[in-house]
Every structure is written in structure tokens, then in C-alpha cells.
Symmetry: C2
Subunit: 226 residues, 2 copies
DNA sequence: AGGACCAAGTGGTACTACCAGTTGTTTTTC
DNA sequence: GAAAAACAACTGGTAGTACCACTTGGTCCT
């Protein structure tokens, strides 16, 4: 994991990564104080603070004035910030985000299809769909989000969720643009499309699921005029 | 875009974001020097450097010693860093890494299957497979890696590559453990399995590709005793 | 016990000084 | 006059010190 950059601050980062891989740093735990870290790594406190600033930028460290620096509980959240920055700088990324989300969502469904859905899970999804029917444009996006979040939770693979979550966030920002192009009828159609997926999962029907994805993201791509 | 945090360094970040939204900062352009920035925003050079460290952590600024700080051309590269850090911190299980890699790899193949492979691409893959046949245990892992890297390069979706790269790295660290359980015969079988995938991509044959993934990762899971 | 207080430790900011690269200009050299 | 060497004026990188602002845990007093 060690980086060979010549920078001094890298020593502090390497030192912390080493602690992490030794299991001495778990999520939420306090990292050594800046002065101690500086002394241990043989660099100045300035450079130590620089290292910590970078880690804070990356989102894996949080600082509490007067208390200490801590390993962030939610490092995933700042990945979405980063993807946002990417979006701001590279105008072609919309299509990429949609594509990634589509393809990964589908793969997750493949995983879920093997085990099917419990009655409780079906009921949960149904209540989301029920909410969609009467939802306003603004609410609709939120339902769509919780639908997909729930879907992701079915995998019990935390790495998946961590990777997928920020993409979902970035995707969510595109939703208003999509929904803006819809009327009540097309939103009704969207609800049916979502129902199709649930049905496909219950029946272990790969084709149904595939149809869902084609329709759903066809909708999205039209809305974004891609 | 302005943040209401009380920190001093935030002034520098806000100042730069303001410049960006005014169109004065385009990709690759040089941002004001640290001393100038400090003077303009009324904060110390220390705090200015802290701001720039964070921006460098986020990946939207690159620093060149003796030259200046520049708006990054490739903000995506640091997403990889971030995911790597996450993998180190969250003691992700082997099974999760394998599963994510499998699913994303498969997703990419779905994308590629639509367009198939050019003759040149097939030849490139074939040369990797040829290398595998005579490879030692140690070399085999490296071939496997370049195989999958090449696969990833076929999707011109940079977001995909960005997400996949660190997972590939994590996966790579597991490879020696897998290969350690193999003999020459089973490695020969692995080469055949890889050839199956290429054949599937050429023929647009989804089932062949699927068979590849089942066999390949079945192999891996056995090797890791999952 | 309860509350007020205090002291030690922590991150936050500033200033200064110097090192180490880069870059464009000037001077030297042929 | 053109190429090469030297220089000067930038740039970011590192270090050290001092002090401020805040948190925390303990002590002392009531």
C-alpha cells in the first residue's frame, strides 16, 4: 500500500496506512495527535497537518477542534463529492454515470434473482410503489432513490453498497432533469416498470428483469437527451 | 457552491470556486500562487496551503514544485486512491471483493458483447493467453491481471475504469493465494477458460461469457476456500 | 453528590525563515 | 549572431515557534 512519492507528508500517510492495515485504526477511532505523529514520523507538524488535510479531502479523516482527528465513519460520502467534481470538469460524464449505474444495478439483480425475495421484502417494495403512484414530481425522485437503495441493500455486500451509493447520489442529481420531462401518465408507466422488476425477482425471471432495465434507462436517457 | 464553515482555509477554497464559476479557471490552468492567494483572501500561507492540500486530496488540483498549482486534468485518478483507502479501512472481506469484481467484470462484458471485438483486439488477447501457457506461477498472476486490465480498457467509460482499477488491485493481492493451490494442469484449464470468454465476446454469445465467469470465479473461490 | 473551576492536551492560525525546484532573462562564450 | 552558461526572480516544500480556541478529564470547593 505504500506510496513511493518523495513528499514528506507521505510519510505520515504511510504511517497511518500501516496502522490501518495492522488493525490499529478502525472506523471512528482516534488517530495519534498531530504533534505525536510528527514526532513519530520525524517530520514537522506542518507536513503532518498537510497529510491530514489530504486525508480529510479524501474523506477518510474528520477533525474535531480541541479533541482530535478521527477515522471517518462514512468515507463513501465524499466519493460522491469527487464524482460531482468530475462531473463539473468533464461534461461528458452524465452518460457514463447512467451506464455504470444501469449495468451494475442489473448485475446486482442477477445476484438477487438466485435467492428471490421474501414476502416482507416484496411488501416493502410494494409500499414504495404505492407511494410513487400518488407522488408529486419532487417526491417521485425520492421514491425512485429509496427503491434503488433498498435494492442495493438486498446484496448484504457492503463494498457494493459503498461503491454504488455515491453513483446513486450523482445519479439522483440528474433525476429532476428526467422527471421534468414527464407527465402523470409517463410516471404511471414508470411505476409499472418498477413493478415489473419486482415481479421478475420473485419469479426468478431474468428476461423480465432485463426488460425493466431497458425500459427504465431508456426513459432516463430520453429525459437527459443522451 | 460556497460553504458556510468557519474555517479560514474555506476562504481560499471559496475564492477559487468563485474564480472557477467566473470561468477564470479551466482544466489545466494555473491557479494563483499560494502567497498571492494568501494575500488576496487575507489568510496565512499556512491556511492557504491547507486549502490546496484538501483540493489536492479531492483530486481537482495538482501541484508542481517550483512551477505552481494547477487545475487537475484527471480528477478521476484520486477516486481510485479513495477507494483503496476505503478498502484498507473497512477490512473488506475477500468474498466481497471477489463478488464485486465478478459482477462488474461481467457488466463490462455485457457492454462489450454488443460491439464485439476487432481482429487486433483478439490477437492481443491471444498473445496474453499464449504467454499464460508457458508462464510460471508468479508470472501467471501478472498475465491474469493484464488480461482483465485489457478487458476494462475496451469500454471507453472512464468511470468504469476508475471504479474497477482499485478493486482489481485488491483482487490481485489475492491471486498468489489462488495460484498457490494450482498445478500445471489446472492452470492449463484456466487458460482454456479465458479463451472461452474471448470466444464468447467475438460470437456475441452471452451464455459463453456467463459460463466463463462461473468457471473462473468458481476456481478463485475454491482457491481461497470461500 | 453537585457544581465551579482549572490544567493539560488537542486542533487552528499565523509568521518567519529557509530549502528546492522551475522559468525566463541576461550575460558570457565561441 | 547564435548557442551555452549563469543568474535572478519566481514557484511550491519543509521546518520551527508562538499563540489562540476548544475539549476533556480531573480537582477542589460548597
Amino acid at each position: 500500500m505504500s506510496n513511493q512519492t518523495n513528499s514528506e507528508y507521505q510519510k505520515a500517510i504511510d504511517y497511518l496506512y500501516q496502522m490501518a492495515s495492522d488493525g490499529q485504526l478502525i472506523v471512528g477511532s482516534k488517530i495519534p495527535s498531530e504533534r505525536e505523529l510528527a514526532q513519530k514520523t520525524g517530520i514537522s507538524r506542518n507536513s503532518t497537518r498537510e497529510a491530514i488535510s489530504i486525508l480529510r479531502g479524501i474523506g477518510i479523516v474528520e477533525s474535531r477542534h480541541g479533541s482530535g482527528n478521527y477515522v471517518s465513519k462514512d468515507p463513501g460520502s465524499s466519493i460522491s463529492m469527487m464524482i460531482k467534481a468530475m462531473l463539473a470538469l468533464k461534461s461528458t460524464s452524465k452518460a457514463e454515470i447512467i451506464q455504470v449505474r444501469k449495468v451494475i444495478s442489473y448485475s446486482v439483480c442477477e445476484l438477487i434473482m438466485d435467492r428471490g425475495l421474501t414476502k416482507e421484502e416484496v411488501a416493502d417494495f410494494q409500499s414504495i410503489l404505492d407511494g410513487m403512484i400518488t407522488a408529486s414530481k419532487e417526491e417521485f425522485a425520492e421514491y425512485d432513490r429509496s427503491f434503488h437503495r433498498k435494492l442495493m441493500l438486498l446484496t448484504d455486500n457492503t463494498l457494493f453498497r459503498t461503491l454504488m451509493e455515491p453513483i446513486g447520489e450523482a445519479y439522483l442529481e440528474l433525476i429532476p432533469e428526467v422527471i421534468g420531462h414527464t407527465d402523470a401518465d409517463s410516471r404511471k408507466a414508470l411505476v409499472d416498470i418498477h413493478a415489473l422488476l419486482i415481479s421478475g425477482l420473485v419469479d426468478h425471471d431474468r428476461e423480465k428483469c432485463k426488460a425493466y432495465f431497458e425500459k427504465h434507462y431508456g426513459f432516463v436517457e430520453d429525459g437527459l437527451e443522451l
